[in-house]
Structure formats: structure tokens, C-alpha cells
């Protein structure tokens, strides 16, 4: 199993460690629920160094990235970040990712579990004057998330953080170490992600905890990362999206720029669009004490004979104290207010389709 630059630190903090994406990662330090609420109410720090970083250089890099991703790279400004995904020709999703535009290169940040697959896919589709470099093993990634994130980091850097807009980035020093400072995250809170050389990760981690003391900053594990993103109905690759789902049914039409010109998967996605979507990824809220979990079957309310879909992600929201879930349901059952039932290990629980995100930050 691979270690991040901070694996031993997590162990020393008493974290429960699990294997994730081939790395030994902290799933929780104290309690998933407490960590979740700390991020919602103040600020927390995540080690997400398992994420993959591919640098794309060469004179034809823009055309290449534009062809392998669904969002419009031409519309991406220098210093801006774009959420996107890569599709197979049949429209299935290879991975979702972030695209960063620098003056002389493009950075692709992919899911840790997909690094090898994505790398092979990109290599296979390489065209023209384009070079790809995998720097996953050299880079550490810390996510500082929560309403106090800016105030934790600002004392450590001369870069005026308030001037970095949501989904923009810049380069500068944090705690005296070179960092790519990105105003992004996977929690629905304001926050930043810092890309650092492995050798600098510990220094910056420690500086963040010193600076964050007055905000009661805490380390946050992957367990809370999952429930935080789920409250925002953000997709998790492997759960909510994969090569059997296409971006439109996954609710990713907003990043799928069918008018931008040719890209891999476009024709199939256009065909799906023309034929009409048969199913949609919706947000569901459970009545009573139900705890939705990945893989539970969904039924049309009052008809428990044939399953109409499955829960792809589920939890009990620590903020709402209700069972929340994402799942694919037939289009005719996808409207807000549609009633469904979920088979919870033999017990039927009532659910309904609700507006998402489940949670909206109050600031």
C-alpha cells in the first residue's frame, strides 16, 4: 500500500486507516459525524494526496484536452479551474476531473482510484504535439474547507486570498513553501486546495493547524469527505457515475458542452439526448429512521414487485438528521415530489425526490 507524505502523521493522531485508491488513508480521526459538523460550522483539513495530477504540455495541448473532456477548454481562462469529465465513445464516463489552465501547461486532477486507467486512456488518445507527465507521486494535496478556511490560510501567505474567485487558482508561497492555491473543494463550503511538493506537506500541515487553533481546526477523514459531498449531491466516481452512466443522466449536462465541437463521446451523448433520457440521477430524502446505503433497491411507491433503480450513495445527513441518497430512477419518477420506496434489508422505507443540493451554506 502506498503512503502519502502524512500517513504517519494520521496514525500518530489516532486516525482509523483504510486502504483507498491504493493508499493508506485516514477514514476518521474521532467521529465522522463530528468531523462533518466541524467543516460545516468552522473549518477542517483533509489530506487528499491520493488524487492524481497529470500535466499536459506541448503546442496542441488545448485541442487535446478539449477532445478528451466534455467541458469547453477554450472557454477556460488563464488561472481558472473547470469541472469536467472524460467519456468513452459510447458516452460512459471514464472519470470526472478538474482542469487547470496555466500559461504554458494544463493540469488535470483525477480520482486516485482511476490514475492508471485515466493515464492509459489519455495515452491511447494522444494526438499531435502533446506531452503528458504523471506527477501524482510527487504532489501532496491538502484541502482546507469551511467558512473560516480563508482566515486560517491568509496569515501564512502574502497572496491576497479574497481575490481568488471560486474555481480560480494562483501560485505562491504558503508557510514559506511553494504552493498551487486553488479555491475549490468537494464539500460545498468555501475553501482552498493546496498542491504542494511532498517534502513540504508536513510543514504546511503543521502551519495550518497552528494558524487554525482559534477556529478549532481539525483533521477530517475520508468518511466525512463522503458525507459532505453527498449533502451537496456531488458525484463520487465508482458510486454515482462510471462507464455505464453518461453525463446527461448523471445530471452533468451543465458541464457537457455539446455545442463546443467534436469530443470523445459527443455523438453518443447527442443520441441519448435526442432519444430522451430513460433515467436520471436524483436526490432522495427518506421518511423516518431510514438509513439509505449504496446498492439498496428502489421501487415505485406502492409497487414492490419490480425494482426501478438503486441507491448509488446514501447516508444520514448530519446537518438534516435525515436519510439522504442519490440514485438513478426512471425519468417519469424523477420529478421533485415523486414518491419511491427503498428496500432496507427487507424493510421498506418511504422516500421522495427532493430538490438538491440537500444542504446550502448560509453565508
Amino acid at each position: 500500500m502506498k503512503k502519502t507524505a502524512l500517513t504517519e502523521t494520521h496514525r500518530a493522531l489516532g486516525a482509523k486507516m483504510v486502504e483507498f485508491a491504493g493508499y493508506e488513508m485516514p477514514i476518521q480521526y474521532s467521529s465522522i459525524r463530528a468531523e462533518h459538523l466541524r467543516v460545516r460550522e468552522s473549518v477542517g483539513v483533509f489530506d487528499v494526496s491520493h488524487m492524481g495530477e497529470f500535466y499536459v504540455t506541448g503546442s496542441e495541448r488545448e485541442a487535446f484536452v478539449d477532445r478528451v473532456t466534455v467541458n469547453d477548454v477554450k472557454a477556460l481562462s488563464l488561472g481558472q479551474v473547470q469541472y469536467s469529465c472524460m467519456c468513452k465513445p459510447h458516452g460512459g464516463i471514464v472519470d470526472d476531473l478538474l482542469v487547470y489552465r496555466f500559461a504554458d501547461q494544463i493540469l488535470l486532477v483525477v480520482n486516485g482510484a482511476n490514475v492508471v486507467k485515466d493515464w492509459n486512456w489519455l495515452k491511447e488518445n494522444l494526438r499531435g504535439n502533446v506531452q503528458l507527465t504523471d506527477r501524482t507521486d510527487e504532489i501532496s494535496l491538502l484541502a482546507i474547507q469551511g467558512r473560516n478556511a480563508l482566515d486560517v490560510i491568509q496569515p501564512l501567505t502574502k497572496i491576497p486570498l479574497a481575490e481568488i474567485k471560486y474555481y480560480w487558482f494562483c501560485e505562491g508561497d504558503v508557510a514559506g513553501r511553494r504552493a498551487l492555491i486553488s479555491r475549490t473543494g468537494y464539500t460545498g463550503e468555501d475553501g482552498f486546495e493546496l498542491y504542494l511538493a511532498n517534502a513540504d506537506a508536513m510543514t504546511v500541515w503543521n502551519a495550518l493547524f497552528d494558524s487554525g487553533k482559534r477556529f478549532r481546526i481539525e483533521p477530517i477523514g475520508l468518511g466525512a469527505r463522503d458525507s459532505l459531498r453527498l449533502e451537496m449531491k456531488m458525484c463520487l466516481y465508482g458510486n454515482d457515475i462510471d462507464e455505464t452512466t453518461h453525463p446527461l443522466e448523471a445530471g452533468l449536462g451543465w458541464i457537457t458542452k455539446l455545442g463546443k465541437g467534436e469530443f470523445i463521446g459527443r455523438e453518443s451523448i447527442l443520441r441519448h439526448k435526442g432519444a430522451g433520457l430513460t433515467r436520471k440521477l436524483v436526490g432522495l430524502e427518506a421518511d423516518g429512521n431510514a438509513f439509505p446505503r449504496h446498492g439498496y433497491s428502489l421501487y415505485r411507491a406502492g409497487d414492490s414487485k419490480a425494482s426501478v433503480g438503486q441507491v448509488t450513495s446514501g447516508t444520514v445527513s448530519p446537518v438534516l438528521n435525515k436519510g439522504i441518497a442519490m440514485g438513478y430512477v426512471p425519468t417519469e419518477l424523477a420529478a421533485v415530489g415523486s414518491r419511491l420506496q427503498m428496500d432496507q434489508r427487507g424493510r421498506m422505507a418511504d422516500m421522495q425526490v427532493v430538490k438538491t443540493p440537500f444542504y446550502q451554506r448560509p453565508y
Binding site: K16, I27, Q28, S31, I32, R33, A34, G223, S227, N289, F291, R293, T315, V316, R345
Partner: protein, 127 residues
């Protein structure tokens, strides 16, 4: 790992405090740690007849769902309804305020042999 010496245990991670012919049942410190934050507890009904090693309740926790198995056959004579509003008691005080049910055991003498003593349970959890 907290494994009180005065209790008995099951391989399914329940603890049992025997007092005469009644037994108080809960889940162990090890089990609550593995489950993570307990969110809901589905308790048995008072008066329910239960059978040793059959499920008689369910714990819904953040990381997993787990059935609670009856450590002894008998009748449920009390349940910890405090868990309905404060399921976190199972995490905070698994051997005390996090207890689940009180059972009037009907076959105690015969069934007790299937329970684990503290050192056997310690071996099980360290394996």
C-alpha cells in the same frame, strides 16, 4: 480496547451482564468503534420472546449496519429507550448508558456455555 472483566461476551460482539436470571445486553467497545457513529437503533419490543443467536435489533451506524443478536434465549423485559433520542450513547458509554435490553433468560444454565469470557473475547478481537 476496553473489555470489562465482570462481563461475558458473544462472538457477534455483544456483552452480557448476568444478574440472577436476568441479563443486560449491549454491544462492545470494539463493536461501536468498528461501526462508527451510531445514528439509529432499532430496539426489540418489551415482551418479545427471543432466541439465542437470532437477531433481535439493528444498529444503523455511519459506516455500517449491524444486527444485534440475542446472547441468550428468553423474554425482553426492558429496553433502553434513551437510545431513540441519544443513539450516540452506544459510542460514548457502550457498557453503561449505551445498554440495549434486559432479558429474562429462560435457558441460562444450558446456554451460558456458548458465551465467551473476557480473555476469549480479547483473543477474538485481536485476531
Amino acid at each position: 480496547m476496553n473489555i470489562p472483566q465482570e462481563l461475558l461476551y458473544t462472538k457477534d460482539h455483544e456483552w452480557i451482564r448476568i444478574e440472577g436470571d436476568t441479563a443486560i445486553v449491549g454491544v462492545t467497545d470494539f463493536a461501536q468503534g468498528e461501526l462508527g457513529d451510531v445514528v439509529f437503533v432499532q430496539l426489540p419490543e418489551v415482551g418479545a420472546k427471543i432466541e439465542q443467536e437470532k437477531a433481535f435489533g439493528t444498529i444503523e451506524a455511519v459506516k455500517a449496519v449491524a444486527d444485534v443478536y440475542a446472547p441468550l434465549s428468553g423474554e425482553v423485559i426492558a429496553v433502553n429507550s434513551e437510545l431513540n433520542d441519544h443513539p450516540e450513547l452506544m459510542n460514548q458509554d457502550p457498557y453503561g448508558k449505551g445498554w440495549i435490553a434486559k432479558i429474562k433468560a429462560s435457558k441460562l444454565a444450558a446456554e451460558k456455555a456458548r458465551l465467551l469470557n473476557p480473555s476469549a473475547y480479547a483473543d477474538l478481537t485481536s485476531a
